[in-house]
Subunit: 371 residues, 2 copies
């Protein structure tokens, strides 16, 4: 089967590019004496998890997930060492306990003393990391907060370490800025671990990670593992902030031309708000890519900076840049769209059509969406 | 089962509100001698389609869909009279033909002479409407365009009428503005039909519709059917533009508190960019609701204008308005979020948990997502 035969819109994954991205991150992490624990929130696929864990450059250990649906799916496929890196609620502990009773080792996170007490009171001993805020100000406690030892005390034997996520690394625009944020991330996690150890707790896991900080960290002393995720695919936002090459975007949306107004250099495609998402991350970067960059069927940048300018639910409007020769696109012509934010775009699709740098569909890989 | 027992995030549909919304539109359309052909792109559910077609106030006839996945799903559930209201490509005709060979009557649309020729050349006789642009400037030809008769000529016996969609009705902010746009929509479709009839073609279907124009049209003479969709659920954007009551939003996202910083009046919830979508339609309206309005577990507006201020993939950040007494929300407390744009939010979920104005789950209804 060829890409040109596929129903549109659909999601295309170039395995050659994926493997290159996996190698780049594995090499970057191998500079440090830490494990790579890939975050599967972007890829949500057992086939991709297996590739990400097959690391010839260093040590990979388990995975990170963003939903309990992912935890269930991946344990069902034999990956048992999992950190569920979104704050746990008491109500979700039964599901975690069920997975662990069946042989998994799903570790949860909390930044709340009452939730810690509920974890400790639950009959199933769920390993738990304390979430530290290293500057993103989303989840987590400040490393100097007295709550750190209070939560540790409540967790007792459930305590397995400290975790932080420098989500604000995405505001960095240069390797030096990313390296500085990575050091903030490292030092917050390590200081939390030191406080815990000084207070007499074991702290076997010291977990940090975002793709920018994992890539640009200068040292990771004291850290045991990093958890990047979006590096597997990359996207236009990552390219704009300098953490990913623009020609290294592994995932694109295959779409068909469904309308044409060549006099206005405008075409309509069947990839709209649902197939591309309405994520506008590049609005904050030097070059705004609106809803995605238009590539040809081969994934090549044949149309300059031609963008998906606007979207409705199932319609995308593309306008060819004035500097580009206007192609003659019949109704039904296939194009590919590089995503603004790959995590959001991929989540609209239930499978990948996998190619190896060409137009032949070599495999179909399912994704685990939802909750 | 109670709402409080459900895993979060998930989608809640209040059937009582849904029925009220269905009645309001059915009554509005019954003022005119036209059929209601509900657009299922928002609801994507056979259970909801059956309610929308059970119209005690007037005549309903068939449904509209936005994907071939919807067409296949609804014909599989016995609804055969369908307009697929996104421009067809030659490559998609086989799938339509297959549905029609099995007893369905899926009508397609085109605004392109070459596509019309492909439709005419296809062995299966697919009924086709010519898409007219009445001012949205997305798909469709101008009503005065010579292409109208050219496309009709190519379609020959496949021609079944004319269709237009006043997507720009969403720029209206008053009933008078909506009524004016509705008249533009009506007159474009009717003029197209008149031109076709004058040229000797039959034009049995004259189809218009968006929720605002269906609601506010003053006359629909010459029109045979209207195709509103979002009216079934409503959302904050529809409330802002005055086409839907804010207390008539039928769909909300149930979410759990997963973090708390009461000193900053800030809480973290497990409904983020994927569960809510990143649609920001209300950015263009008087009151911007960011990623949604925070309601209590009962769906009541207990927290004033407290909004989901920002989202990451699985995290939402809510900030309680300064004018509101800060509630004491433990980790795991359930809240509900009214969506900014309901079509996009609902599409992130694969089922509805149905309630009847209370907190008891009376049914679970699946949705047909994807393509």
């Amino acid at each position: 089967m060829k890409l040109d035969d596929l129903p549109t819109p659909c999601l295309v994954l170039d395995r050659t590019i994926l493997q290159r991205n996996l190698d780049t991150m594995a090499r970057a992490v191998s500079r440090h004496n830490v494990a790579l624990r890939p975050h599967m929130k972007t890829a949500k696929s057992i086939d991709i998890a297996r590739l990400a864990l097959s690391n010839p450059y260093g040590r990979s250990q388990g995975i990170t997930v963003s939903t309990l649906a992912e935890a269930e799916y991946f344990t069902g496929h034999g990956i048992n060492d999992i950190i569920y890196a979104v704050g746990i609620t008491p109500q979700k502990l039964d599901q975690v306990a069920k997975l662990n009773a069946a042989g998994a080792n799903v570790t949860v996170i909390t930044d709340d003393a009452d939730a810690a007490a509920a974890i400790a009171a639950h009959p199933s001993p769920t390993r738990t990391l304390i979430e530290i805020d290293c500057g993103e100000h989303r989840g987590g406690i400040d490393v100097g907060d007295s709550a750190l030892l209070e939560i540790a005390g409540r967790l007792g034997g459930r305590l397995a370490g400290a975790l932080t996520h420098a989500g604000h690394s995405y505001t960095g625009r240069t390797p030096a800025e990313m390296a500085a944020i990575a050091e903030t991330e490292r030092s917050a996690a390590v200081r939390a671990a030191e406080r815990l150890v000084q207070a007499g707790y074991a702290c076997p896991i010291v977990s940090v990670g975002s793709s920018p900080s994992a890539l640009y960290a200068e040292r990771l002393d004291g850290v045991t593992e990093v958890r990047p995720g979006v590096y597997m695919f990359g996207d236009l936002f990552q390219a704009e902030i300098g953490t990913h090459p623009e020609d290294g975007i592994a995932v694109t949306v295959l779409t068909s031309v469904i309308g044409r107004r060549p006099a206005e250099r405008r075409f309509l495609i069947d990839a709209g708000a649902l197939a591309l998402s309405k994520d506008r991350s590049t609005e904050a970067t030097p070059h705004d890519f609106h809803y995605g960059l238009v590539l040809d069927l081969n994934g090549h940048r044949s149309y300059g900076r031609t963008l998906v300018q606007r979207v409705n639910q199932e319609h995308g409007v593309i306008e060819f840049s004035s500097g580009v020769a206007l192609p003659d696109l019949a109704i039904g012509t296939k194009l590919r769209i590089a995503p603004n934010h790959t995590c959001l775009t991929a989540a609209a699709h239930d499978r990948y059509f996998v190619v190896d740098g060409d137009n032949t569909v070599a495999a179909i890989w399912p994704r685990v969406n939802g909750w």
